[in-house]
């Protein structure tokens, strides 16, 4: 900005220059505090899990044991639950969210679109414990009485839908997560679609493509990076989601093929057991689970942010 030229004039008083430097330094320090917080977070997770890391090493990641009495801990059932529930969530929320984003960006008149987008953003603002509360008292009975018996009687020949079912479990948690991640997919994908230049659509329509063909074969591929970004972003949200999952997953550390079985996830075991973990090794094992979750979400989020930045840049350059 032009300010540097102004400041270098010899007529400017020295005190102004000192004040200027101080103001700049203060703002800089507060910005740097964000980096500091992140570094402290990494250090604390690393330090806090030291006991557990030294004791079990890499074995921790592949062991299915979880025994606070003998202090034998393994992360596999928790990682399994986290991955399965998040995958189920995306399986539902990606088609739904992308479809809704297409409607909002391509079809709906601007007024209706912004009204509906506002409502969808409110959906994202609902606290996760509220989702958990509702799911526990409405979705869980529904699953136990109707959905799960139905799945067993029709698709019961698949190992996915066998065994006992109590309403809580991987499938229920996946459904709740899908509802929670849809708003993120919609709002980020919608913006990626809106950033596609008008000429792309006009060219396809002029060649005789229908509205849907234009959208699906031209507009969506053009915005694909932003859409992938939105999917990764909601994947990271789903992996770290705690309260709603804890309340409906059943909290049993087990690995089974059945989606109806009750399971657990990294975030829910930390939420459920951290305040009761009494021995240092037990605490360290839980902190190490936190470290695993942190690493997972950082990797996925880092990729998502890069993709979203790439599309917005592309869009703004051409329009």
């Amino acid at each position: 900005m032009a300010s540097s030229a102004v400041l270098e004039k010899p007529t400017v008083r020295r005190s102004t220059q000192t004040g200027e430097a101080i103001a700049r330094l203060v703002a800089f320090l507060f910005a740097a505090s964000i980096l500091l917080i992140t570094l402290v977070l990494v250090y604390k997770l690393w330090e806090g899990s030291a006991l557990s890391r030294h004791k079990s090493g890499l074995h921790f990641l592949f062991s299915t044991a979880w025994n606070p009495v003998t202090e034998d801990f393994g992360a596999l059932p928790f990682v399994y639950g986290t991955v399965i529930t998040s995958a189920l969530a995306l399986l539902i929320s990606v088609p739904l969210g992308l479809g809704a984003a297409i409607f909002l960006a391509e079809l709906a008149p601007a007024r209706i679109s912004s009204g509906l987008t506002f409502l969808i953003e409110l959906l994202a603002a609902i606290p996760s414990v509220i989702y958990g509360l509702l799911a526990l008292f409405t979705l869980v009975p529904l699953m136990r009485l109707y959905v799960e018996p139905f799945l067993k009687s029709t698709l019961g020949f698949l190992p996915l839908f066998q065994g006992p079912s109590y309403g809580v479990g991987f499938l229920t948690a996946g459904i709740v997560l899908s509802i929670m991640t849809i708003p993120y997919i919609i709002s980020v994908s919608r913006e990626a679609l809106l950033a596609v230049p008008r000429e792309q659509r006009e060219a396809a329509l002029a060649l005789g493509a229908t509205r849907w063909e234009t959208t699906w074969q031209v507009v969506v591929p053009y915005a694909r990076l932003g859409i992938f970004g939105s999917i990764f972003l909601s994947l990271a949200r789903a992996l770290g989601e705690t309260m709603a999952v804890t309340m409906v997953i059943g909290n049993t550390p087990q690995i089974t093929a059945s989606l109806l079985a009750s399971g657990t996830s990294i975030a829910s075991v930390i939420a459920g057991e951290f305040s009761e973990a009494t021995t240092p090794t037990y605490q360290a094992a839980l902190v190490e689970l936190g470290l695993v979750l942190f690493a997972l979400t950082i990797l996925i989020n880092g990729a998502a942010r890069l993709m979203i930045v790439a599309t917005t840049r592309k869009g703004s350059k051409r329009s």
């Binding site: 964000i34 402290v40 330090e47 479809g99 959906l123 509360l133 770290g240 939420a271 305040s275 979750l293």
Partner: protein
């Protein structure tokens, strides 16, 4: 012909998907109003929780506790986030600015429960006790990246001509920021702050093992402190019908506060400003 059919069918599907998504919002609000409204009474706001099995009681301590924890978190998080946002918008340099921005976005995406572990090890472990302060630190860490990114985006929207006008009148750069840029962007910045505080007010995961819970009023900020979201969790997973009733009531109160803040921020304050995502 079939191309046209596919066209109509797929376009109709996208509309149905949108309706499905939006209707979940009304479904959620409807359930909360029905069950919560039935359970909400004056005692909820004035009485302490009763031991399991006894009917009645309220969550007065959790409401006050939530206000305390969120208040302290806002006292720490808002100024830090605001000044970091001022740096990103006004003082940014080539290498450091983008780095801070990227890390802030990453920090924003870290699961809240992991942030809880940070606050636990920074505050609860040295103090050898769960405390409201530890919960406030966790929430502040979540608030900082939200507020800094929103402040940055709103300050950037302040037109260049306003800045040039101030500089031409002889104002130094920080005077220009303090007297021209920040007031001009204040509506948006305030909106961002309200949205950020509303977001952390509903968090329960990072509070479970930092501020924990308390059946009584609790003393200061250094003792375990009850909060509305944590109360909802413990009441909902309990085995007592009367506690479930209270969880619904608390859910209605919490969603009322969060949605009011959101609607206010987006409709009233932000009229004419587009609200960037958190």
């Amino acid at each position: 012909m079939w191309r046209k059919t596919i066209n109509v069918v797929m376009l109709a599907m996208t509309g149905i998907f949108t309706l499905l998504t939006v209707s979940t919002l009304f479904l959620i609000l409807g359930y909360l109003l029905y069950y919560g409204g039935r359970s909400l009474d004056w005692n909820f706001f004035t009485k302490l929780p009763l031991p399991a099995g006894e009917l009645g009681g309220g969550m007065a301590n959790a409401i006050v506790g939530s206000v305390k924890i969120v208040g302290v978190a806002a006292l720490i998080g808002l100024p830090v986030g605001f000044l970091a946002g001022v740096y990103l918008s006004e003082y940014e340099d080539k290498a450091f600015g983008p780095l801070v921005r990227y890390v802030a976005d990453l920090l924003n995406g870290i699961p809240s429960i992991v942030v809880g572990i940070l606050a636990w090890s920074l505050v609860a472990v040295p103090m050898k006790s769960f405390s409201g302060l530890a919960g406030a630190v966790a929430l502040a860490v979540m608030l900082i990246p939200i507020v800094s990114r929103q402040t940055e985006q709103f300050l950037r929207e302040v037109p260049l001509s306003l800045r040039e006008g101030a500089l031409a009148l002889g104002a130094s750069k920080w005077r220009m920021i303090a007297t021209v840029v920040v007031p001009a962007g204040s509506k948006g910045v305030l909106t961002g702050m309200i949205l950020g505080v509303a977001r952390i007010a509903g968090e329960s995961a990072p509070l479970l093992f930092t501020s924990f819970n308390n059946q009584f009023w609790g003393g200061g900020i250094t003792e375990p402190t009850a909060s509305l979201p944590v109360m909802i969790y413990f009441r909902a997973i309990s085995a007592y019908d009367d506690w479930h009733r209270q969880a619904w009531a608390a859910g209605l109160v919490l969603i009322g506060m969060v949605l009011t803040a959101n609607i206010m921020a987006r409709l009233v304050l932000a009229r004419g400003i587009s609200v960037p995502r958190g």
